[in-house]
């Protein structure tokens, strides 16, 4: 499975929000810290529901958090 075609800036957003930890984000969206880590590293693409929850936590639109990379997806 490896890296997915969906890139994200969750780490940047966390750090910009007063160094929010992965555990804090995980608690707010109802997943484990390991799942947040897998999403951040691009190893796991979250469901739409979780993606929207993440965007809501940071108060930004979904497309600001996640970007779809066409070139990667075609491989």
């Amino acid at each position: 499975m490896g890296r997915c075609a969906v890139r994200n800036v969750i780490r940047d957003l966390r750090l910009a929000r007063g160094e929010m930890t992965q555990q804090e984000l995980a608690d707010r969206i109802g997943v484990t810290r390991q799942t947040v880590n897998a999403i951040e590293l691009g190893k796991y693409s979250p469901s739409l529901e979780v993606a929207f929850q993440i965007a809501e936590v940071f108060g930004v639109p979904l497309e600001r958090v996640f970007q779809y990379e066409k070139a990667r997806a075609r491989r």
Partner: protein, 137 residues
């Protein structure tokens, strides 16, 4: 390491430690070198279940918050994917068990084979879970 991953490790190690030596003995019994009592299988399954409970409780006591939390979507997907692989292993075992009925096998041998299929299927399930947890997905 998450509670689900610890749980998968516990089950995998227990399967190897409890059923590994047992099936070694069964293999020797099939070769006529030793004898395995009919009740051993039931006793072993009971010991396995009790050890699973004790070790899972011990881990849960150490991290109660994680243990109480519901599975998240990634953990659900990992479990589904690992269980799918195990299903095919178990299905193959069942089909082979049915096939062996056409040969001179007794109930004891058949029960050993069915248990062996279930154990291998569980081994596949937990090892796949651990692999997916380690990799992220």
């Amino acid at each position: 390491m998450s509670f689900r991953e610890k749980s998968a490790w516990i089950s995998l190690i227990l399967i190897v430690l409890v059923f590994g030596p047992y099936f070694g003995r069964v293999a020797l019994a099939l070769a006529g070198k030793t004898h395995v009592h009919a009740g051993t299988q039931f006793a072993l399954i009971t010991v396995f279940v009790l050890l699973e409970i004790v070790l899972h409780v011990a881990v849960a006591v150490r991290s109660p918050r994680e243990a109480r939390a519901a599975r998240d979507e990634r953990e659900d997907l990992i479990d589904l994917r690992a269980t799918r692989t195990a299903f095919y292993v178990l299905l193959a075992g069942v089909l082979i068990a049915i096939f062996t009925l056409h040969f001179p096998v007794n109930v004891w041998m058949l029960s050993q084979f069915v248990l062996f299929s279930a154990v291998v299927a569980q081994l596949m399930r937990f090892s796949n879970q651990i692999r997916l947890f380690r990799r992220g997905w």
